[in-house]
């Protein structure tokens, strides 16, 4: 009887998370049809879906595996560029957008996951902050490599160069697909808000079910005490790598969504550099480390906040920074926690809502 209750509890919690996402989706659809959402905000919806997936997947590394990654945008970048490359190449070959997009997703996720394994094998041997630094380095390298990559196609096949588009030596019938710093232009815009939300649900399904399974338990055991996990026969390397590469593959999915929403996909510090990795990490920490639902909400709030503050023009990023610092102090400072606990009797109702 007790056991049944337990299973129901996690299932229930998962269902609530799915329900929140669906409810938010419905709310946005209603508001859109009522014309209550500005075109600016509408433009943010698809990237927001990508950010949510990135935040949830990073939480798998940071919260569940307990390792700090500062290169999550690197995996996103891999997913974005491989899938955009694929979609552009096959735009005529596979005319059905849905089928093409499905393949693009699989390719983006697989490429990013593969990078996760390649980075993870050496990097996961390192401890704590050193892992963070290697992932940061990886993210910067990927961004750098994409910026010097030129790929063109003509009737003779593909041509590669790391110099410029002219040295590809394309025949007159050829076209440049990846154009170095100018990136990929003309990726079919297959990402829609609906598709994004479906992919959020798929991501949640994978992450939440993984956490509440034998493998998830092993991953969290390693997080809590690596030495004890080894002593009871858990293969630490295998499960660390598993969590890390699944996280990377899902970041790749985020990248696919992101890429198929842009007329021109370029790798700049802003979107795929360390700034992006940091922004996603902010979502995760502010939403609560290991708290998947929190990651979603933090991603939504922090993506919309600068837009809502747009009226304040020059001051908005300043306010964003101040709010971020204040929220961190309020959420994490031992003194603030003590203060909250002392007053929690008074604000008990309010606090429950927050949680």
């Amino acid at each position: 009887m007790r056991r049944m209750k337990k299973i129901n509890k996690t299932t229930k919690s998962n269902l609530i998370t799915y329900a929140i996402v669906i409810a938010l989706f419905a709310a946005v659809q209603i508001l859109t049809s009522a014309g209550a959402i500005s075109s600016l905000l509408q433009g943010l919806l698809v990237p927001l879906c990508a950010y949510i997936i990135l935040a949830v997947s990073l939480n798998l590394t940071v919260g569940i595996l307990g390792e700090l990654s500062l290169g999550h945008a690197g995996f996103m970048c891999v997913g974005a560029f491989t899938s955009a490359f694929f979609s552009k190449c096959t735009a005529e070959l596979i005319p059905v957008a849905g089928v093409r997009y499905l393949f693009a997703l699989l390719i983006g996720a697989a490429a990013a996951g593969l990078c996760g394994i390649l980075v993870g094998i050496p990097a996961l041997r390192l401890k704590g902050d050193y892992l963070a630094i290697v992932t940061l380095a990886f993210g910067e390298i990927i961004k750098n490599v994409v910026n010097i990559l030129f790929i063109g196609r003509d009737s003779e096949g593909f041509h590669f160069s790391t110099k410029d588009s002219l040295s590809l030596g394309l025949l007159p019938d050829g076209e440049v697909i990846v154009n170095g710093p100018q990136g990929i232009t003309g990726t079919p815009k297959d990402s829609t808000f609906t598709v994004g939300v479906i992919l959020i649900l798929v991501t949640l399904f994978i992450v939440l079910n993984l956490i509440h399974s034998r493998s998830g338990r092993a991953i969290m055991a390693i997080r809590d005490n690596r030495i004890a996990a080894e002593s009871i026969g858990i293969n630490v390397t295998k499960y660390k790598l598993m969590a890390f590469s699944i996280s990377a593959a899902l970041a790749g999915v985020g990248g696919v969504i992101y890429a198929h929403n842009l007329a021109t996909l370029t790798a700049q510090p802003k979107n795929f550099g360390y700034n992006m990795s940091i922004m996603i990490l902010v979502f995760v920490v502010l939403g609560g480390i290991g708290n998947i639902r929190g990651s979603i909400l933090a991603a939504i709030v922090l993506t919309l906040l600068p837009e809502l503050l747009r009226g304040l023009s020059d001051y908005r990023m300043l306010i964003y920074a101040v709010v971020l610092i204040a929220m961190m102090l309020f959420n994490w400072s031992p003194k603030a926690i003590e203060w909250r606990e002392r007053h929690s009797a008074k604000f008990k109702r309010k606090k429950q809502k927050e949680v």
């Binding site: 390192l126 630094i133 910067e140 390298i141 920490v285 300043l318 971020l324």
Partner: protein, 294 residues
Amino acid sequence: MSFISYLINGVSLGSVYAIIALGYTMVYGIAKMLNFAHGDVIMIGAYVVMAAISGAGLPPGVAVLLSIVCCLILGIVIESVAYRPLLNAASSLAVLITAIGVSYLLQNVALLIFGANTISFDSVVSVPAVTLMDGALTITGEAIVTIVSCIVIMIALTLFISRTKSGQAMRAVSEDKGAAQLMGIHVNGTIALTFAIGSALAAIAGVLLCSSYPSLNPYTGAMPGIKAFVAAVFGGIGSIPGAFIGGILLGVIEIFGKAYISSQMADAIVFGVLIVILLVKPAGILGKNVQEKV
């Protein structure tokens, strides 16, 4: 001859990285935090110098001193307002994110005051360039001053840490905060002092960096900040000689990478070398690899 010229450029750039990395590594050693706002203090330092010279008409020497004092105070304020409350937080990530918040804050304050445009920074160095080997090799005054400053700072800091009471307190706090407190060491004061020194060094680094590479905007500090952080890790984070070696090494790799391989790939090369070094020496060149006791 170009090889020696590149080498000198590399050592000069590396000296700037080393000075920044010293700040990173001292703060990490004592507070176990990655101070992501450190790079932005560099940028503030450079703006203060620029404003003092072109705005208030102060002589360069006075402007640099003013900048050092400003950054020193800034460092103490940041530490006490944003970091100290989180010193004992449940997750070390909390203070990391707060540091990122501070970094955004400094960038946007600079954006509001000085605008987003990149401005040209007038070198404060009045040392003339040295020409050697019948003009085949020229060493700029900036390079000379940067390298000399770095060596002087390095020696002074090493003496300070090993010879003075405050320096010993720093080492004690970085080893064990609780024990240091029991021995009567003022832990908070020591941490504040560390931030003050680190930030003052950042001001110097900012002036030197902008004198050699004369362009300044609110994001100028971000990339050198990250690179210096990489340099600190290269050398073994927490180690002062490590930060020095790491900084120089990184500067040389970057300039050689730009000169001999590809200027667009220079950053990728720097980060690639970092990964290789960490795989061979997981705690950096001079870092101690501490095994968890079972």
